[in-house]
Symmetry: C2
Subunit: 148 residues, 2 copies
């Protein structure tokens, strides 16, 4: 398969992020340098990745301490990789709009479970590729701005 052009990659990326019932791999690191990785549901809201996780999870602890995560969406051979910064964390019942949008895209609804928080992650760098012939030109966003 020939490599997609930049505009197609961006369109495919935005479609994937807005797809119903889409999941994201969230990689974080502890202050002591231990990597953590979990799959969770995502919502794509105002160009932010929103996840819902327990406030006391390893991922939340790592994110709060480091302010950073590396995210992967899609299968290993049609991937969107995102380096993201923590924008904010909010209780799942404390932002009505976010709760509605999250529940609409995801296939579960964390609202009402006070153990959970929404975590809003701002993409800083975004890359998309399928096979090795798409490694070139994979960067679609740099320093938080689309380059395509």
């Amino acid at each position: 398969m020939s490599p997609r052009d930049p505009q197609t990659r961006k369109a495919d990326t935005l479609a994937m992020l807005a797809a119903p019932e889409i999941d994201v791999w969230v990689a974080t690191a502890s202050e002591s340098g231990e990597a953590h990785l979990v799959p969770v549901s995502l919502a794509w809201v105002d160009e932010r990745v929103v996840i819902a996780i327990p406030a006391k999870s390893v991922t939340t602890t790592n994110l709060t301490a480091s302010g950073r995560a590396r995210l992967a969406v899609g299968p290993t051979r049609d991937v969107v990789m995102i380096d993201a910064a923590l924008e904010r964390t909010v209780g799942v019942d404390d932002d009505q709009t976010l709760g509605e949008v999250y529940a609409a895209q995801s296939d579960w609804d964390p609202r009402g479970d006070s153990a959970y928080v929404f975590v809003v992650l701002r993409p800083v760098r975004l890359q998309a590729w399928r096979e090795s012939n798409e490694i070139k030109g994979r960067t679609l966003m740099r320093d938080g701005a689309w380059v395509v």
Copy 2:
């Protein structure tokens, strides 16, 4: 779908790890606490996860420094999660048996590219689950030993 029993999960896990052209998400952390995540091909050799990556990659640097990685195999809703320890790193042309087995399972062959190394990762903890009803009973290996 009802949750799988432990024996079925173990059999499914071993089948997935031995499948042709299977990939693994490799999460590592830098000494300064930055998470990295990449998808790469895997071979399952003598109950070890073997990957081939550039010797100078972020993943190799992190692995060498920390000795640890967190791995995910399979899609987000049929996942095998492995906490692994670095066992050894060897040039792709310096272990003939490993090279043959890797090339047989993977759909590419890194041999002949001196920039690449095989990294042999020993599973310490292994968990497998599909949906939330399989969270209970997800731990199939603990402290490097199968508990199923």
